[in-house]
């Protein structure tokens, strides 16, 4: 789906076109699900993704600005709300499906450990760092988009990137030492 097509669907969805909304939902569902997988544990991810789209439906008429940024802001709010309610497991373990996809993967990391280790390390990051890593490296968003989603400046995002990668490296090193 190109940008023009997305904008057309968005305009229709804002005016209450349920078919356009369904198409948008179908298009963005995998991205939001992936985001949720790295923010929360696998079982909650699907439910929370559904919640994100329910909120999209409820507020689509008021949507302004970049849709993707708005969508991820909603997703971040959903994660925050659920973590406040204590529904998210803080010490995450590897989801079976993720394990399976990693085991079947072709290029396990040599230097910083396997992808499973990386996943477990991500879980141990602070909320801000985890959100940043998910948006930047899992979702592939630009610093400008992340700045809009999180309400920070691009300079602050660069700082957060440095701290997140440093922290992740430290966690992975300590995990490696434990394994040895």
């Amino acid at each position: 789906m190109d940008k023009h097509e997305c904008d057309c669907l968005l305009e229709k969805a804002r005016q209450g076109d349920s078919e356009a909304l369904a198409m948008l939902c179908e298009h963005f569902y995998p991205q939001v699900l992936k985001y949720m997988y790295y923010r929360v544990d696998g079982v909650s991810a699907e439910d929370l993704t559904g919640e994100v789209f329910l909120r999209v439906l409820g507020n689509i008429g008021k949507q302004k600005g970049l849709f993707v940024a708005w969508l991820y802001r909603i997703a971040a709010n959903v994660v925050t709300d659920y973590s406040r309610m204590g529904k998210i497991r803080q010490e995450g373990s590897i989801d079976e499906r993720l394990t399976q996809s990693v085991v079947n993967g072709t290029n396990p990391a040599d230097i910083v450990g396997s992808q499973i280790d990386i996943y477990n390390a991500i879980v141990k990051l602070t909320t801000d760092q985890r959100e940043f890593v998910t948006l930047k490296f899992i979702q592939g968003l630009s610093n400008a988009d992340i700045a809009e989603i999180t309400g920070r400046s691009e300079g602050a995002i660069r700082g957060l990137q440095f701290r997140a990668l440093s922290a992740l490296r430290l966690i992975l090193n300590s995990q490696e030492q434990v394994n040895e």
Binding site: P30, L33, L57, S101, G159
Partner: protein, 270 residues
């Protein structure tokens, strides 16, 4: 090395790698920080390779079903809101009607304040006076209102006469009657308040007497005949009130005294 600079270099290297360069190619431009940045850049590359979950069809269907239910609920809520808005508009209309009646009533009563006997609004003026009298809770206030109404009758009498409306006997009788009612209303008041009221009634009687004397000068012979009766009563009342204030008149606790009957309880026929 400045932390901000490292952050910027790391960001630039990550951007170059995402555009297709290898980590080593990106780092080659920054040899002074290459060793510091390399582990983080490698990690960033590994992060990009992390797999996403396979999209579960059942999850997508569940979400779509939820959206569908929500949308139906949204429509029902919109319909309910319409009904609520409708009932709001009914309330607003009712409030508007009440407001119109209130404003119309208030305007009529205000306009009627200047009305004279024979005018269309004069009965409304009298009615509003009766309402005010009825709503006054204290005897003191009721007595005060009677004095005000009596003064109003005197003014109406003069206005009507000056406009060529002749001498209105009904107004003359009402003028005297309101003064009597003021005195009666004050009979149960404490002594201090009663004394104050007596002074007010004495002044009122004096005002009535003077007004009638003025009217007498402009009155026709026939009117003078009628005025004489009322003027006599006013004179008697003034004398009686003076004696009462001096302490020589019988107390109002003896309302049936002959003197009082003579000037207060005898009211000419209207």
């Amino acid at each position: 090395m400045n932390n901000n600079k490292i952050e910027d270099i790391l960001d630039r290297c990550i951007a170059e790698v995402s555009m297709g360069k290898t980590a080593e190619e990106a780092l080659r431009q920054y040899p002074e920080v290459a060793d510091d940045i390399r582990p983080m850049l490698t990690l960033a590359c590994e992060l990009r390779k992390l797999p996403g979950p396979s999209t579960s069809v059942s999850g997508l269907i569940r979400t779509m079903a939820k959206l569908s239910v929500q949308q139906t609920g949204k429509k029902t809520t919109a319909q309910r809101r319409k009904i609520t808005l409708l009932s709001h508009s009914v309330l607003i209309r009712a409030a508007a009607v009440i407001l119109i009646f209130f404003v119309a009533g208030w305007t009529t009563v205000t306009s009627s304040a200047q009305a004279l006997p024979g005018d269309f609004l004069y009965p409304i003026k009298l009615f509003s006076e009766r309402v005010r009298f009825f709503l006054a809770m204290k005897q003191e206030n009721k007595a005060e209102l009677c004095i005000v109404f009596s003064e109003e009758r005197v003014k109406e009498l003069v206005k009507r006469h000056s406009k060529g409306g002749g001498l209105n006997k009904r107004l003359l009788a009402a003028m005297l009657n309101e003064a009597k009612m003021a005195l009666d209303a004050g009979s149960e008041l404490p002594e201090v308040s009663r004394d104050l009221l007596n002074s007010r009634v004495a002044l009122l009687s004096q005002f009535q007497k003077q007004t009638l004397e003025q009217l007498e000068k402009r009155a026709s012979p026939e009117e003078k005949q009628d005025l004489k009766t009322y003027l006599d009563i006013c004179c008697l009342r003034c004398t009686w009130m003076e004696q009462r204030i001096d302490g020589s008149a019988p107390d109002s606790a003896q309302p049936q005294s002959k003197q009082r009957q003579g000037c207060w309880d005898t009211c000419p026929r209207q």
